[in-house]
Structure formats: C-alpha cells, structure tokens
Symmetry: C2
Subunit: 361 residues, 2 copies
Amino acid sequence: MIALPPGATIGILGGGQLGRMLAMAAARLGLKCAIYCDASGPAFDVAATSIIGGYDDLDAVRQFAKTVDVVTYEFENVPCALAEAAAEIRPVRPGVKALEVAQDRLNEKQFIAQLGLPVAPFAAVDDETTLAEAAKKLGLPAILKTRRLGYDGKGQVRLKRTSDLQDACSAISNAPAILEGKVEFLLEVSVLLVRGIDGDIRVYDVPQNTHANGILDTSTVPAPISQKARVRAADIATQIAEALDYVGVLAVELFFLGEDATEPLIVNEIAPRVHNSGHWTIDACVVNQFENHIRAVAGWPLGDPQRHSDAVMTNLIGADVNEWKNMAAEPNAGLHLYGKNEPRPGRKMGHITRIGPKSGD
Amino acid sequence: MIALPPGATIGILGGGQLGRMLAMAAARLGLKCAIYCDASGPAFDVAATSIIGGYDDLDAVRQFAKTVDVVTYEFENVPCALAEAAAEIRPVRPGVKALEVAQDRLNEKQFIAQLGLPVAPFAAVDDETTLAEAAKKLGLPAILKTRRLGYDGKGQVRLKRTSDLQDACSAISNAPAILEGKVEFLLEVSVLLVRGIDGDIRVYDVPQNTHANGILDTSTVPAPISQKARVRAADIATQIAEALDYVGVLAVELFFLGEDATEPLIVNEIAPRVHNSGHWTIDACVVNQFENHIRAVAGWPLGDPQRHSDAVMTNLIGADVNEWKNMAAEPNAGLHLYGKNEPRPGRKMGHITRIGPKSGD
C-alpha cells in the first residue's frame, strides 16, 4: 500500500462544513488541504490553500489537481465531469462511480436492488402518466422524489391519496423522478463505514437518527437495535462499498423495521462522503469519520472506529445556534460551530455532541 | 462577561505546533485565527490568515492587533515589549505580567516563594563569585540555569562537585543565572489549569511526566499520586493563577516528593500557555486544553475538563516520527503530526496518545 507521506496535500472539491472538518482532520495527521469551491466557504479558514473555481470549469479543476496529491469531495453533487477531469491528473477517491450511483435516486435504487439488498419498492416517474402507473403499482401513501439534487427534504412530495397526484409533478418542476412506496419502520439508523485502498474495512457503531422538517436532528449511539441487526447493517454497507470498489467514508441510511421482521433493515439511501450522522465520532471516538476518510484517500492505515463514549449529536439549525453560550457551558458536551455568518432557517450552523460513559451494547 | 461572538478573530503570537493546535481548537468553535510569527510555521496551514513579522517589530504587531479581536501567545519567550505594543490596541491574554514572571527563572522563583508556595532552594548567580557563594549556601549537587531562554534542558549545567563550578559560568555564556538546589523527588507531575476572564477556574486531571534527554517524553493520566496530593497540586496552581490575574491555560510543573512528605509537592516551573504535558487532553477530554485556552481568551464559558479516558501521551522527537505508519495502525491511539518537514534530532515532530477505559482515581 503506497501511502502519501505527512506533508502531502489532499485536494477537496467543496468548501462547506464537511470540507472544513475534513481539513481539520487532515491537519491532525500533518497533511495539508487545498479546497476547490465555487464560492468562499467554511473550509477556507482552515485549509492551507483555497481556490474559487466553477463546478463546470474543467480546466480550472485540472490546474487545481496538479497542485495536490489526491482529490476527494465533500458533497455528492459534484458534477461527474468535474471529478473525471480531476481524475485525468490525480486519483479521485471515492471514485466517479460512487458519484454516478449516488447522484441519481433511480440509479442508486437499481444498484442496491441488483446487489440483492433490500430497498423500498420504487418505480421511475417521468410525467403524470408514469406517475399514475407507479402509484397504481406501489399503492399510496408514497413519496415522489426527484432523481437528482434533492437533499434535506427538498425535491420531495408526499402523496397520501389519488387527488395528490394531480399537482405532484409540477410541484417538483416536472423533473425526472422516482416514486417510493411508503415503508412502515420503527426507526432510522445509519452505517458509517470506511474502506481503505487495500480493501480494509472499518465500521463505526450504528447511530439512530431522527429528523425534523426533513433535516437530520439527532444521532444517538448506541442505537436501540439488537447486535444481530447491527451486524446485518454493517454487512449491507460492506456489500455496497465493495461493489463500488469504494475508498473513503461511505454513509448508508437504513430503515429499521423491527427485530421480528424477516429482513429488519431496508436501505433508504447512500452518501459517498462523510455524513452528518457521523459527527458524533469527533467526540466519542479516538479516530473520527473525517480522519478516517482522509486516511483512506491518502492510502494510510485506517484508524480505530471504536467508540469510547456513548453520544447524542444534535444539529444546530438556523437560530438554534444563538444558544451557543449556554451550550458552551454544558458539561460533557462538545460544541462545534461551522463559522457561517447568517443563521438562516434550515441552515446547518453547527452541532453539539453530548457524551456519557460507554454502555454495554 | 463579554464573550467574542463566533466569527471573531483570535490573534496568536507564534506559529509553532502549539499555535497550530490552538487554531484548530478555535476553528471548532467557529472562531478564526490570525498568526503572527517571525517565520513560516506549522500554524500557518490551519489559520485564516498568517503574517510574518519580527518579534522586535512593534509597529508590525500593532498593525496585526488591529486586524484581530484579542491577542494571545503560544510561547513564553514573546518579548514583553511586543506583547505590550499589541496590548495598546487589543487585550492580550494571558497578560504581560505572566510573561515577565515566566521568562525569568529568578523572577519566577521569587514570585512563587512570595506566595508562600514551595519551591526548590535557589540563589541568584551573576558570575563565578556569586556562584561559589550560592553553591556554599545550597550545597551540591545543584543545577545552574540561565535566568532566560532556557527550555527542554538547554541552558542548564548540572554541578555535582566543587570542581564542576570552574567552567559552569562559561558553559552558559556567563548569562545571568540561578543555582537551584537538587530536590530528591519520586516523580514529576503537572497541573493544567484554565482561568476565565471572570475568574472561573477549571483544572484537568494531573498527569505524571517523564523526560528523556531533557525533553518531555511521556505524560500519563491519572498520575499515581493520592487524591490529597492532587487537590494540593490544583490548589498550588490556583494560587499562582489568581496572583497573576491569569486568563487562559497555565501549566505548573511540580516535583512530587512522596505521600509522607510534610509538603509532598514543590513547584519546578510554570508556563503561561498551553503545554506539552496537556496534549493528552485532545484525545481523552471532550474539551481539550487548546479549546479551553481559546474559550478563556475569547471570554467564553470554560469547557468541561473531565477526562473520559485514561491516557498515555508520548512525544515523537526527531526520527521517532518515521514510525508514523505503524503508529497510525494502532488501535485506541490518536496520532498527531505537526506538519514539520525535517525530523531533526530533538525536534518535536508530533505525539501519540494511547487511551484506555477511565479508571477509578
């Protein structure tokens, strides 16, 4: 395994809070970061160098790639053409394939289903006619989601009854979409997995995730599911990572149906990057998800994903952050602010992780 | 208490690894850092802005101070005139008084002794005559130390017998010095304390420290001393911090003479800054020494200093760092590299903290 030596430079496409935390993790290992982003962002303040370049500017990203030793990305909507242009110059990890799969909900669902892994029932929707057919096939309630560019609850419409179908396509601007059959589940969990360039895999303890207004609200470790279900969750994520020949941190969101279900877990979606539901690892693990992603893309040995503490991570969305001073005074709590100026509604401003002694699982 | 808001800028005098870890801690809180250093250093890669300026360039530091909200320093040999010039423009925390005391071993010893706290017997030495008098008064063995600019075992001569006195002054270039009587101690410990601008004080668990070739080698928490001795150690450090009206992290190195001693602890020296013997707090505490220093100088509530894990921190000096790949593969270990290029002998290149479940104290 050829590892980049300390002092090498990791290029990161994207300059948001995930890029910021990746850059901080790289610094811990004596690695430099260079950020490529279409606008100044939270990562710029902690990286050795940062440049502003368009996500459609292939020449600019090639130039950027020449200044670094390996390229990674912090958001899954990096245009594939941009990643491919960078890959002409330097290795891009995780690869372009992971982007192609994760950027399109239909590709993603088909890819996972083809691995024989459980997904919610789904059907492609291109217009009102195919929507009507899909609704007939899957039944209602169901959720209409754009194939591309939806996140944090955006680009989604919940359909409860037949009359909801009427305006559904126009509500998502007639974008190519999929209809997902509604899954009755007990709770949501996620797997944070890291895979090295030699195929070594480490899996963090599975958090339970809750959402508010379509945005992740809390991640709690350990999740209240059996050891058997955890092993299955890790197994599902491992199969996906191996099928993608993945390098780096991969997040797999899962619905947990219950201990008595024949298949207790269903894959909701994957994210080919460090993930909000893994932020608790900063305060509860000796090597967090950001550092393990950096280690993987730099060809380093992976770090120990073991947690030393139980943890509840809570996102600070919009005005939540105004309570920073009270939160800073809490015992047993790690406060993380992303350096964003305006606490706009729905904007991820930071998070707080409250830890406690490690419980038995 | 007026706290700097997230987004404010901390100016740091000095750009070494301590400045680097301070900047990373500030970033976690959404605070920016600006570095002022006489040469490019490890902190430059993780700070929002960095400038090179002479430590005797008072105009340059005044200009620098105008660009930040508060000024701190990462090494105790910042010239007092530089700190005073910055203080004309912005608050400098910890203050100039802490520098004056800590930069001069004679001032330091006198200051601590005047507080009624235990120090090793000492006497001022200006030349061979005063050295002979001091040796007569304190007896041999003893250690001759320059009053200023000695650290990591530099600027020191051990005197075992009268014949050693002969070349001792020239060995330290006839610099103003003190002679310290040798103290027989069982082990060395240190107190890492943080004091806020409102006088609030938090104390980390006391590590035992070992040295190799005059440089810190390991810090182990908890130290094998009684609860009573720990309380006394914290009490000594608290008295020093209050007497200095100190703001930030203060390190107090102590000799531990034994549980049966009338006074089990003697102050060796103080450092008005984050300290190498506190690096274990990064991996074993939810709020580490660097973050607590930043919180203090920014007027924030102090963070919880409680450790969640036991820890052994080992410095990586010079060529030790070449083993980075093996160390990166260790479980339960946090590896920290400072981004320095050449692993010269005696140079602090990084550290590794091995953690384990928290033991009873």
